[in-house]
């Protein structure tokens, strides 16, 4: 029993740690470290997004885009003609499946780039 009492007392003594004089400064140091780590993380995410956007947009432009647009437009026209015989309301389908679809993809990529660029500017 005395053994157990002593162990309880020892636990209390361990818990009863004195407040160190630089406790506030230590806490501020930790907060600064956390802020720095957080900012670094946001920068990295922003940079990764921007890089991805640039790569995506450049891939779109570099991969014979204009040639493909022409081919796609021709295909779309043919598909559109075919569909118009089946159903009268095919404008939307032909727009997305043809040359417009590529431009929509480019616009989305640019929007993504703009978003990540704005995040970066906000961080600065």
């Amino acid at each position: 029993m005395a053994e157990l009492d002593f162990e309880r007392r020892l636990e209390r003594l361990f818990m009863d740690a004195p407040e160190l004089p630089d406790a506030a400064a230590f806490a501020q140091r930790i907060e600064r470290k956390l802020d720095r780590g957080w900012n670094m993380r946001r920068w990295l995410i922003g940079a990764a997004g921007l890089t991805g956007g640039v790569i995506g947009a450049s891939q779109l432009f570099m991969s014979n885009l204009f040639e493909r647009v022409e081919t796609a437009e021709q295909s779309a026209r043919l598909v559109g003609q075919g569909l118009s015989r089946v159903s009268p309301s095919t404008d939307m389908v032909s727009a997305l499946s043809g040359g417009y679809g590529v431009w929509v993809a480019v616009a989305l990529a640019l929007a993504a780039m703009a978003y990540f660029a704005s995040r970066l500017i906000e961080e600065m």
Partner: protein
């Protein structure tokens, strides 16, 4: 961050602060550090770390705790949870720097001083811990300060369970011898005052 928010954090319970910190609020975690930072640094010092080293390990442990705050379910105290992280990190540091093996061997340097109880002065825990060998000090601090079981301490120290138990037993005997005179002196003082 406004002063109003900081004062709001000051009025919150640890568990609530942990929930805020888990949502990414770094100032909420800062309040937890303000409350418990000294206890964590104190434990590391009691385990044998020097001032600057104890602060470094405490800082690493607190940053790790922030990263893993979602794992804290409020089953024990926040301070206890971080103390366990800090104790393990300190041991890993000792292992990395190849100091753990030296500490884990039987130390007899301070044995002579162990029974030299100072009945005239109140001896606090920090003073009493100085009479323990490094291994005893580590084991006792881990089990009674960080709240690890003997098994967990043995695993963390990479020592057989029996060795840890005997370090703890010897450490407790020395601490009892060291702390008991102060206890009886205090009781004596109370009697004479009464």
């Amino acid at each position: 961050m406004s002063g109003a928010t900081i004062s709001t954090y000051a009025s919150l319970h640890d568990v609530e602060l942990c929930a805020h910190a888990a949502a990414g609020e770094r100032r909420a975690f800062g309040e937890l550090v303000r409350r418990h930072g000294s206890a964590i640094r104190g434990l590391l010092r009691r385990m044998g770390a020097q001032g600057a080293e104890a602060d470094d390990v405490a800082q690493d442990a607190l940053l790790a705790a922030f990263e893993r705050i979602a794992e804290f379910r409020g089953e024990g105290t926040f301070a206890g949870w971080v103390k366990r992280i800090a104790a393990r990190q300190y041991l890993r540091r000792l292992q990395r720097e190849k100091r753990l093996a030296e500490l884990a061997v039987e130390g007899t340097d301070d044995e002579a001083d162990a029974t030299a109880g100072d009945a005239d002065h109140r001896i606090d825990l920090d003073e009493a811990l100085k009479v323990l060998s490094p291994a005893e000090r580590l084991c006792v601090s881990m089990c009674y300060g960080a709240g690890l079981s003997h098994g967990e301490a043995a695993e963390a120290l990479n020592l057989p369970l029996g060795t840890v138990k005997s370090h703890v037993k010897r450490g407790l005997e020395k601490l009892r011898a060291r702390l008991a005179p102060a206890e009886s002196a205090t009781a004596e003082g109370r009697r004479s005052n009464g």
